[in-house]
C-alpha cells in the first residue's frame, strides 16, 4: 500500500512533464486538422511545414545564427577563460564577476539594455544585432565550462612541454588546446542550443529583415495553433536530443 505510493507520485510528476511533449509528437503525425481528434497516421503536416517558405527560411536563419553565435562565443570565451586562468592582471576579479552578472541578470533587462545600446550606436536591427546579443548571453556559459576544465589542470604540463623544446605557441597548440577541447565543444553546444531557442532577447533586437524560428513560431501560435507547429516542435525536439546526447557523450568520454 505504502510502497507503491512514492512510485505513483513520481509517475504523476514525470507524466505532467512528459505527456504534453508526447502529445505534441503524436499529433504531429495526425491526419486530422483538429488538434483534439485523431484522424489516422500522416506526414502531411511535415509536408505543409516544408512548403511554408517563410518558416523554412526562419529555420535556416536560426541555424545560421546559432552556429555563428556559438562559434564566436566559443572563440572569445575560450580565450577569456585561458586569460583568467593563466594570467594575473588588474581587474581580473571584476571581469570574472561581470560574467556572472550577465548570466544571472534577468533576460528582459539584458534585452532592453542591448536594444538601447544598438539604437544609440546606430546598429541596424537584424543579423548583426542578433549575433552580438546572442554572443553576449552565451559567453559566460562558455567561459565557465572552460574554466571548470582548467581548474583541474596540472600547471606543470605547459612547463613540461616548454622543457621538451616547445615554443609557447606550440605548447598551446599541442598541450593546452587538446586538454580543454572537450570543454570547448561542450561550451559550443551549450551556446548553440541557448541561441537556437532564445525568445526574449531576440524579440527585442531582431528586425523585419531577419526572422528567426522561435519568433516565427510565436507569431504563428498567436493567430491560432496550427498542426504544423507540432511537426516543427517534434523536429526541434529530436534535434535538441541529438545535441544533448552528443555533448554528454563528449563530456563522459573525456573524463576517462
Amino acid at each position: 500500500m505504502i510502497r507503491w505510493l512514492p512510485r505513483a507520485w513520481l509517475m504523476l510528476i514525470y507524466g505532467l512533464l512528459y505527456v504534453p511533449i508526447a502529445v505534441l509528437v503524436v499529433f504531429s503525425f495526425n491526419d486530422s486538422r483538429s488538434g483534439y481528434t485523431w484522424g489516422g497516421l500522416s506526414l502531411r503536416w511535415y509536408e505543409t511545414l516544408f512548403n511554408n517558405h517563410a518558416m523554412v527560411e526562419a529555420m535556416w536563419n536560426s541555424l545560421w545564427l546559432a552556429l555563428s553565435a556559438a562559434t564566436v562565443s566559443t572563440l572569445i570565451g575560450g580565450l577569456t577563460a585561458l586569460a583568467l586562468h593563466r594570467y594575473r592582471f588588474r581587474g581580473k576579479r571584476v571581469l570574472n564577476g561581470m560574467l556572472f552578472v550577465v548570466m544571472m541578470s534577468p533576460e528582459i533587462v539584458l534585452a532592453i539594455s542591448l536594444l538601447a545600446l544598438f539604437l544609440l550606436v546606430g546598429i541596424q536591427l537584424g543579423y548583426v544585432s542578433l549575433l552580438l546579443a546572442h554572443v553576449t548571453f552565451c559567453l559566460p556559459f562558455v567561459v565557465i565550462t572552460v574554466m571548470a576544465r582548467l581548474s583541474g589542470f596540472d600547471e606543470s604540463l605547459p612547463e613540461a612541454a616548454r622543457d621538451l623544446g616547445a615554443s609557447d605557441f606550440t605548447m598551446t597548440r599541442t598541450v593546452l588546446i587538446p586538454v580543454i577541447m572537450p570543454a570547448l565543444l561542450a561550451g559550443w553546444l551549450l551556446g548553440f542550443t541557448l541561441s537556437l531557442d532564445d525568445v526574449v532577447v531576440s524579440t527585442f533586437v531582431s528586425g523585419p529583415t531577419y526572422e528567426i524560428l522561435p519568433l516565427r513560431i510565436y507569431s504563428m501560435v498567436r493567430v491560432g495553433l496550427k498542426p504544423e507547429v507540432n511537426a516543427l516542435g517534434t523536429l526541434l525536439l529530436v534535434f535538441s536530443l541529438v545535441m544533448l546526447s552528443l555533448s554528454q557523450w563528449i563530456l563522459t568520454r573525456s573524463k576517462q
Binding site: R162, G165, P178
Partner: protein
C-alpha cells in the same frame, strides 16, 4: 671552471620581495654524476631547480652548462630536461607520443622517432607500451615513462623534482635503486632535489644540504653522515641524538661539555666550534651509543638514563631513554646481546668520544 663539469653555478641569487629564496649558491657538478640537493620544504631547492631549468631567472650570478652561459636561454633551448614532481605526462597522448614529443619538436623524422622511442622504452623496462594510455599505467611505470621522455633527448643534464614523492614506500625503495642504475646506464648527469635524506644518501655521488637558500655542506653521502659540517646537517642527515650543555674545556680536539644536570660528556670538536664557556650541543648517533654491559671501554663518555620504551623494528630496533631531561635513542643490536629493558629501569649509556660531535648551540 673546469671543462669537465656539466653544470656550474656561481653566486646564484633569486629574491622574492625581501626574501632570498636562493642566496648566493655556487655549485659544480662533474659530468656523469648523480648530484642531490637535500633540504626541508621551503629551503629554496625547488626555486634553484627552476632556475636551472629556465622557468625562472636568477637576480644575480651565473649558470653555465658545459661552459655555456645559460642565464638568458629560455627553457625550450636549454640542453636540460626535467622530471616533474607529478610527472606531467600529457594526458591526451599515448605513452609513445609523450616520449616522442621532444623529438618531434626537434624535427626528428617519424621513422627515426619511432625507433628511438622503442629503444628508450626498452631501456627503462617498458618495451612495447607505445600505444598505452599513461593513465592505464601504474605509478612506477608512469615514473619510467617520464624518465624516458627526457632521456630520449639525451640531455646534458637531467633535473628531477622529488619524483618519488607520490609513490608508496615499497615502490619508492625499489625506484631509488632503479634510478641509480638508470643513471649509471645512461651516463647522464642527474640533479635531484628531495627532502628525503634517505633518497639523497642512497642514490647520490654528491649531496648538497640546503637550508634557508644556502648550501650548508656539499659532500659525498658518507662524509655528510660521518663529518657533518654544521649542526643542521648533523640533525637533518640520518638520526642523531643531541645533548645540550656548556663547553668547559677543549683538549687535543676533544671537547668536554657540562650537561645541565652536571654530568660531563666528551666529543670531537666540529670544524664550526663553540668557544669555552658558550652553550654547546653534543651530537651522537643512535648506533654509536652502547648500553652498559656491552663493551663499554674506559675512555668512553657515559650518561645515566632511564628507559622510556623500546621500539622494535627488526634491524632498526631502538630504545627510547631520558637522560638529564633530554630524550635519546640508542640502537638495540638484534643478535640477542641486548639486555632485557623494562620501562623505568635505569642504565648507563656510553660512546666513543671520537664518534660524537660538539657544535655551538642554536645552530639548527
Amino acid at each position: 671552471m673546469t671543462s669537465e663539469s656539466d653544470l656550474s653555478c656561481s653566486g646564484l641569487v633569486r629574491r622574492f620581495g625581501d626574501n632570498a629564496a636562493v642566496d648566493h649558491v655556487s655549485l659544480n657538478v662533474p659530468a656523469g654524476t648523480f648530484f642531490s640537493i637535500l633540504g626541508p620544504s621551503g629551503c629554496g631547492k625547488t626555486t634553484l631547480l627552476r632556475l636551472l631549468a629556465g622557468f625562472d631567472r636568477p637576480d644575480e650570478g651565473e649558470i653555465r652548462i658545459r661552459g655555456q652561459r645559460m642565464n638568458e636561454v629560455p627553457p625550450n633551448r636549454r640542453p636540460v630536461n626535467m622530471v616533474f614532481q607529478h610527472l606531467a605526462l600529457f594526458p591526451t597522448m599515448s605513452v609513445g607520443d609523450n616520449i616522442a614529443y621532444g623529438l618531434k619538436r626537434r624535427g626528428v623524422p617519424a621513422a627515426e622517432r619511432q625507433k628511438r622511442v622503442a629503444r628508450v622504452l626498452e631501456q627503462v623496462g617498458l618495451p612495447g607500451t607505445e600505444n598505452r594510455n599513461p593513465q592505464q599505467l601504474s605509478g612506477g611505470q608512469r615514473q619510467r615513462v617520464a624518465l624516458a621522455r627526457c632521456l630520449v633527448l639525451e640531455p646534458t643534464l637531467l633535473l628531477l623534482d622529488e619524483p618519488l614523492g607520490a609513490l608508496d614506500l615499497k615502490l619508492r625503495e625499489q625506484m631509488k635503486v632503479e634510478l641509480k642504475h638508470l643513471q649509471k646506464a645512461f651516463g647522464t648527469t642527474f640533479v635531484y632535489i628531495t627532502h628525503d635524506q634517505s633518497e639523497a644518501m642512497v642514490m647520490s655521488d654528491q649531496v648538497a644540504v640546503m637550508k634557508n637558500g644556502r648550501f650548508d655542506q656539499v659532500a659525498p653521502p658518507e662524509e655528510l653522515y660521518r663529518e657533518p659540517a654544521t649542526p643542521f646537517v648533523a640533525g637533518f642527515v640520518g638520526d642523531n641524538n643531541r645533548l645540550a650543555g656548556e663547553l668547559v674545556s677543549v683538549r687535543e680536539g676533544l671537547a668536554e661539555v657540562r650537561l645541565d644536570d652536571g654530568g660531563l660528556v666528551r666529543g670531537r670538536m666540529a670544524s664550526q666550534a663553540p668557544a669555552v664557556g658558550e652553550r654547546a650541543e653534543l651530537f651522537v648517533r643512535p648506533e654509536s651509543l652502547v648500553l652498559a654491559g656491552e663493551a663499554l671501554k674506559p675512555d668512553f663518555s657515559t650518561v645515566q638514563a632511564s628507559v622510556d620504551t623500546t621500539l622494535f623494528d627488526g634491524a632498526n630496533s631502538r630504545v627510547e631513554v631520558t637522560s638529564s631531561g633530554q630524550t635519546l635513542f640508542a640502537r638495540l643490536p638484534q643478535d640477542g646481546s641486548a639486555p632485557a629493558l623494562s620501562e623505568g629501569a635505569t642504565l648507563q649509556l656510553g660512546w666513543d668520544p671520537m664518534l660524537a660531535r660538539v657544535f655551538p648551540a642554536g645552530g639548527a
